[in-house]
C-alpha cells in the first residue's frame, strides 16, 4: 500500500488475514475495500504451524492484484516470526497478543498486566471457541475423568487471581457476561469487567498506521526483536 490507509479508493482490494477469535470485531470495519480470511484460533499454540499457514496465504495472495496485506495478529508466541512477503506490503499491529486489540491500546493492556499479572481474559470470541476454564474442565473430564481434570486445571490455572471479561461491543453482553462470571465463581477467583475499545481495530483496518504498527516492506521478514521493547 503506498498510501497510509485503506480509505482511499485505488480500486485494489486489501487482504486481511486474521484470527477467527476476533472475526466479528474485525468485520465491523468492512469499508468495501477489505477482503477477509480467518484462521483457526488455536494456531498460536503451535507457532511453527501458524507461520506456515499464514505464509501460505501470503504467497497465494502474491498472484492476485491486492494493494497490500493486513495481519490481524500480534507476535502471538512467535507465530508470525519469519513471515515474508515477496510482493505485497504487510501491516502488523505491534502487540504481543490480541488482548491489546480488544482493549484498544497497548498501554491499557500493559497497565492491566503489570497491576494484575494473574488475569485470565475472556472475550465473547474466546468464549464461543470454548476457551474458558469451565469448558476446558469439561473436556479434560471427558477424556481423563473428573479427578485428573481437576488436577490438570489446577496446575494450569493455580496462579490466576481474576477473570476479566472484555465487552468488545459487537456481541450481546448479558449471556457472555454470565458465562465469564460463572468461570470466576468456578475457579473461586475475582471477577471484573473492562470495556473494550474498537480504536486499535479501526486503525489497523482503516489506517493511518503510525508507530503502533509495523510496516514490513517487500522481501523483509517479521522479527521477534521488533516487538520486544513493548
Amino acid at each position: 500500500m503506498r498510501e497510509n490507509s485503506t480509505e482511499r479508493r485505488s480500486g485494489k482490494k486489501v487482504l486481511v488475514l486474521a484470527c477467527s477469535v476476533m472475526e466479528k470485531e474485525i468485520r465491523q470495519f468492512q469499508n468495501g475495500r477489505l477482503e477477509f480470511k480467518f484462521f483457526d484460533y488455536g494456531l498460536h499454540r503451535t507457532p511453527e504451524n501458524m507461520a506456515q499457514a499464514i505464509q501460505l496465504e501470503i504467497d497465494k495472495a502474491s498472484d492476485e492484484d491486492y494493494e497490500g496485506i493486513i495481519l490481524g495478529y500480534g507476535l502471538c508466541s512467535n507465530g508470525i516470526v519469519g513471515i515474508t512477503s515477496k510482493k505485497l506490503r504487510l501491516i502488523i499491529p505491534r502487540i504481543h497478543d490480541c488482548i491489546s486489540l480488544f482493549l484498544g491500546s497497548v498501554e491499557s493492556y500493559q497497565k492491566q498486566s503489570k497491576e494484575f499479572p494473574g488475569t485470565y481474559y475472556l472475550t465473547p470470541g474466546w468464549i464461543d471457541k470454548g476457551q474458558t476454564p469451565v469448558s476446558k474442565f469439561k473436556s479434560y473430564a471427558q477424556a481423563y475423568g473428573e479427578e485428573t481434570a481437576r488436577w490438570v486445571l489446577h496446575e494450569e490455572m493455580k496462579h490466576y487471581t481474576r477473570i476479566v471479561f472484555i465487552d468488545t461491543g459487537v456481541y450481546p453482553r448479558e449471556p457472555y457476561r454470565a458465562i465469564a462470571r460463572e468461570n470466576a465463581e468456578f475457579l473461586g477467583i475475582s471477577y471484573e469487567e473492562l470495556q473494550g475499545s474498537p480504536n486499535l481495530f479501526k486503525k489497523l483496518l482503516h489506517g493511518p498506521w503510525g508507530k503502533e504498527f509495523l510496516i514490513i516492506e517487500r522481501n523483509q521478514s517479521v522479527r521477534q526483536e521488533s516487538f520486544l521493547d513493548l
Partner: protein, 248 residues
C-alpha cells in the same frame, strides 16, 4: 552414545539397538509418553533391581520419553493435560532414582536457583525442569513465579548458587531475563553464577543477545546443560541431548 537407527522406532530416539536393556528402556519411554505412572514406577524399580545403570535409566528411558511428549506438545498433538500427565509419570520414575543418585553423590551436585521471570505466572515448564534437575541429583531452590530481578539476586547470594535458571512463556515478559542478567552484572555476581534461560518464546539468538550462559530449547535438556555449564561429567558418558542445548 549412538542415536537410534530409523528402523528401531523413529519416534522414540536415543536407544541403542543391540542392548539387552533396550526393550525395557523402550517400554519406559513409551510409558512416559502414555502417561502411565504405575508402569513407569514399576519398570524403573525393576531396572534398578536388575542393576541397570541409574543414568542409563534416566537418559535413555525416562528423559527421551518426556522429550517425545514435549515434541508432541510442540506439534499440537498433545495438549496441556497430556503434557502435565507425562510430567507426572516422569516424576514417578525420578522419585525412584533420586535417592539412589543422591546417595551416590553423597550430596547435591550443585545448587540451582530457579523461577519464572517478573510478570510471568506460567510454570509448567519450570516445574518440569525442577523435577528433572532434582532427579539428576541437583539441589534446587524454587522461587516460584513472577520473580523480580532483585529476588533472583538475593536468592543466588543467600544460597551461593552456581546456576540461575529463568523461564518465561510470554513474549511480553521474556525481556525480564535481560533485566535480571543486567542486575546480576551490576551486583558483581555475573561471574560467580551461570545463567540459564528457556521457555517457549526464547530463542538461541535472544539468549545470546542478553548474555545468558546457556539456553535450553526443551526442559528435558536442562540437566545436561547445567552439567555442561559446570563442567560436570555425565555418569553415563555424554548426555544424548546435545542437539537441544547450546552453549553460547
Amino acid at each position: 552414545m549412538t542415536q537410534t537407527k530409523e528402523s528401531m522406532n523413529s519416534i522414540y530416539p536415543y536407544l541403542e539397538e543391540d542392548s539387552k536393556t533396550a526393550a525395557p528402556l523402550y517400554q519406559l519411554q513409551k510409558a512416559v509418553v502414555q502417561r502411565d505412572c504405575k508402569t513407569v514406577k514399576e519398570l524403573t524399580e525393576r531396572m534398578v533391581k536388575e542393576g541397570v545403570d541409574l543414568f542409563r535409566i534416566l537418559n535413555q528411558g525416562l528423559i527421551p520419553g518426556m522429550l517425545e511428549a514435549s515434541e508432541r506438545f510442540r506439534k499440537g498433538e498433545f495438549f496441556i493435560p497430556e503434557l502435565l500427565m507425562s510430567s507426572r509419570a516422569l516424576k514417578f520414575g525420578l522419585n525412584v532414582l533420586r535417592p539412589l543418585i543422591q546417595e551416590r553423590k553423597n550430596r547435591g551436585l550443585a545448587k540451582v536457583v530457579i523461577g519464572t521471570v517478573k510478570f510471568d505466572l506460567h510454570d509448567i515448564g519450570k516445574n518440569l525442569v525442577i523435577i528433572l534437575l532434582e532427579g539428576n541429583g541437583f539441589e534446587v531452590v524454587d522461587l516460584g513465579v513472577d520473580v523480580s530481578p532483585e529476588k533472583f539476586i538475593k536468592a543466588v547470594e543467600k544460597n551461593e548458587a552456581q546456576i540461575l535458571a529463568m523461564s518465561s512463556l510470554l513474549t511480553s515478559t521474556m525481556s525480564w531475563m535481560k533485566f535480571t542478567i543486567e542486575h546480576l552484572q551490576a551486583s558483581g555476581l555475573k561471574k560467580k553464577v551461570k545463567t540459564l534461560v528457556g521457555g517457549a518464546p526464547v530463542t538461541p539468538i535472544f539468549a545470546k543477545n542478553i548474555g545468558a550462559d546457556g539456553y535450553c530449547r526443551e526442559a528435558t535438556s536442562a540437566p545436561s546443560m547445567v552439567k555442561k555449564l559446570l563442567g560436570i561429567k555425565e555418569n553415563e558418558g555424554e548426555s544424548p541431548f546435545k542437539q537441544d542445548s547450546t552453549r553460547l
